[in-house]
Amino acid sequence: MHQAQSSPYKIKALFILLLSMLFFSLAGLCNANEKAEQFDEGTTLLLQKNFQEKKKGIEKIATSGDKRAEAILLALLDGKLFRIKKDNTLVYARVASPKIEITAALSGKPLGSIKKRKLKKISINNTLRSTIKDALAKIDLTNPDPQVRKDAVNKLTTNLTMESSTLLAKQLQSEQDNDVREALTTAMAITALRSGDNEARMLALNDLKGNLNPAVHNELTRLIAEEEDITIRSKAESVLSSIDSKISFYGLVETLFFGLSLGSVLVLAAIGLAITFGVIGVINMAHGELIMLGAYTTYVIQQMLPGSIGIALFLSIPAAFIISGLTGIVIERTVIRFLYGRPLETLLATFGISLILQQAVRSIFSPLNRSVASPAWMSGSFQINPILSLTTNRTVIFIFSLLVFAGLYLVLKKSSIGLQVRAVSQNRKMARAMGIQAARVDALTFGLGSGIAGIAGVALSQLTNVGPNLGQAYIIDSFMVVVFGGVGNLWGTLISGLTLGVANKFLEPWAGAMLAKILILIFIILFIQKRPQGLFPQKGRAAG
């Protein structure tokens, strides 16, 4: 004000500015007013008891273009939209026991809390539910994110009406994104199938060949059942069978993926064992518990760094390697060292150690399972096409296990310690004569195998809950993998682990999860009796 008084010129300018602003906003307001009016009409209709009226209301709200439309429809769908019995105000309700907190649906103002009996839910039925879903999809069609638009198109396609197909046709003209256009074309083809024009229908059938959208599958099945024109029907049948074969192919790919994923877990769990059992011939029944220690290490590190799950996970890999590895070395130095050459006694003693480790963890961390969080980049999935998606965490763990395998392989083949390990495993006396300290190599080998078990634990913590019995579940499987692959052969372990995983997953749909496991076990029992050396037996002197 002070400034305005000092300079009358400025007042004038300000006045003109204000006037022009008013003018423009009025023009905008006219449009907005129309929107708001339609929106208000819609919301009043929602208060009606009659479902038919409510339906009209929903459609009005959806086409109003008002910003509040989406929120109100979502709340209605979730059963969170209420009206206050006294004055018919629409509110969102949130239970904050014992009372219910409400927010005005139209203005967005919080209205405090209220007793439950003063509210009445806006009820909907199944028809309304699908109307709401359609309406929401229509709203989503204008969303700037192409993924949301594509989902909206697919949603509308599953339940295509005349009205929505005109809407989609309009969308197709303005749509820029290729993925969305593709989805729209599918919808157009389905519309064309329903038209009377046989030529257009043949063209549409051609377009739909190999299309994996479930809506297309349904439409074709319906068409085959109802169609009288033979050429169209036979064409539709051939298109449908092409789709079906594609679906079963991707089903196979999915099973293969799950099998490889299970196999990679088995490889991770077994590969440490392949070192301790295969290279130095020690049966370590506590191997599963070393895996468990790795998983608990992940849990503890995550508890220490609550804010940064990703960093905690990366830190746990070396930490788990060190902790499990050191535990392994301690076990080797205090117990196993005295039992070399007595494998059955080693088996019993290490089994005792596994019981002690289990109970120790149970006493320290409680017998309950702990869940370890996954970082955001590991959750979710890669959507390859409408029926095939690969979960990210399983893909990551598959790659991770291959990396661990490669790392271990390089250590054994290229490093000097690896050379010593192989020398001792092949001919202990000769190796000692060449000046290798066999006892030191034994301890290091055992530590290496145990450390790898710890790393396996880190990976497992991303797939299942972490509990004291985690290791037990894997010990028998791991032994099976090592023995099946051929003792002392890393490649054998990799191949047998993946094979067993895939075989398990392929048997599962046919025989059920439990029976598949039993069948695999029986197969391995029979296999070992036929070929005790495993798939890839060691050659030469070490085979003894």
């Binding site: 049966i283 117990v335 005295f338 039992l339 494998p343 059955l344 006694e345 080693t346 088996l347 019993l348 003693a349 089994f351 005792g352 150690i353 596994s354 019981l355 002690i356 480790l357 289990q358 109970q359 120790a360 149970r362 006493s363 028998i476 032994f479 099976m480 023995v483 059920g512 439990m514 029976l515 496991k517 039993i518 076990l521 029986i522 391995i524 029992i525 029979l526 070992i528 009796q529 036929k530 005790p532």
Partner: protein, 362 residues
């Protein structure tokens, strides 16, 4: 006569059997004839517990026979024990008749619950006691024979054999967990009413079962003693110590192994069959690999390759288990684990080895 001669050379066995005979007489008398107020009265609970230990001792004998004398470390003997137990459990289930929860005249409760229409084929015949008893020895025996025939013929030995026996019991564990198998799934068989017409709740039946367990243990002991002291036993020891050499001399090693292994599985089955009516339940938990490996530690603690050692070990470890799981539940697994380590490192001949002066090479 032969047995008496054998016993003369087995001092520990003589002592154990004498103690066993004494217990068999005294415990039921103290339970049935003495009033509860009498300080010497033995409660039915204690008697049943002792009966359970006797079954474990028989099981330990079976393991000792193959491990101590034949060198086969079986980590799957719990499976044979459980199979015998299931055969007995099936008989007891059929004895329930229409007294079950659902009152079905033929089907056990869990089958009614699963909406089964009729008895599965493998349940037929178990209403006869003699048939069930035949199955108690036949089922474990046949499984052991099939398994052993495959394993010993292809010369699977040492730790490989241990691991596949463990896989065997693990596979059975998974299988018996399935409801579709028709053995009661996770819950197993329970809620038994009577055996041969005698109520399982009565003290006299309990005493009878206790005596039966003691007699079975006695006969089991004598038969194992007979086997180990016979020519057959000598060959077994030879196989344990130098398998290849025994084979080169001309013995069919796999045949000896197969028969002893099968006999041992049958003994385990009998132990299981006596165990089930006393504890009143059989469930897949008995197939757990841990249960099987625990048996091995009983034998190891008592002293491998001495029959009475197996009996002593089973009694000792199980008494410790009962005591510790009640007094300090957390400590039991620590103790068991430590037992595994200490016995293998420091006491390779078990506690009876401490008493024996004469050096026997194991």
């Amino acid at each position: 006569m032969i047995l008496l001669k054998l016993l003369k050379s087995d001092r520990g066995g003589r002592f154990t059997l004498a103690l066993l005979a004494l217990t068999t007489l005294v415990v039921p008398i103290c339970n049935l004839l003495l009033p509860e107020s009498n300080p010497l009265h033995i409660s039915t609970y204690t008697m049943t517990l002792l009966g359970k230990y006797l079954c474990y001792a028989l099981l330990a004998l079976a393991v000792d026979l193959v491990w101590g004398y034949l060198g086969i470390l079986s980590l799957g003997h719990g499976a044979f024990f459980a199979l015998g137990g299931y055969a007995m459990g099936m008989y007891l289930m059929r004895q329930i008749g229409d007294r079950g929860m659902y009152g079905h005249p033929v089907l056990p409760d869990f089958m009614v619950f699963l909406n089964w229409e009729s008895l599965p084929w493998f349940w037929h015949g178990f209403n006869w006691f003699w048939f069930a008893m035949l199955m108690v020895v036949l089922v474990p025996g046949l499984l052991a024979m099939a398994f052993g025939w495959l394993a010993f013929r292809s010369r699977v030995t040492g730790v490989y054999l241990s691991i596949i026996t463990q896989a065997l019991t693990y596979a059975l564990l998974l299988a018996f967990f399935r409801n579709e198998m028709g053995f009661g799934g996770n819950n197993g068989l329970t809620d038994f009413k009577d055996i041969l017409g005698f109520s399982l709740q009565s003290d006299t039946t309990r005493a009878g079962l206790f005596i039966a367990s003691a007699i079975a243990l006695g006969f089991g002991y004598l038969s194992c003693l007979y086997i180990t002291r016979s020519r057959l036993g000598k060959i077994c020891t030879a196989i344990r110590d130098q398998e290849d050499r025994t084979r080169f001399i001309g013995y069919r090693v796999e045949h000896f192994k197969l028969w002893i292994f099968t006999f041992s599985a049958m003994l385990a089955g009998v132990a299981g069959a006596l165990y089930v009516p006393q504890v009143g339940i059989i469930n897949p938990g008995e197939f757990a690999p841990l249960a099987s490996i625990e048996i091995v530690i009983w034998v190891a603690v008592g002293g491998r390759a001495t029959l009475y050692g197996a009996v002593v070990g089973a009694l000792m470890v199980n008494y410790a288990k009962s005591y510790l799981t009640a007094a300090m539940p957390e400590a039991w697994l620590f103790a068991l684990g430590a037992l595994f380590v200490l016995v293998t490192l420091l006491l390779p001949r078990g506690v009876t080895g401490l008493l024996r002066k004469k050096e026997i090479n194991v």
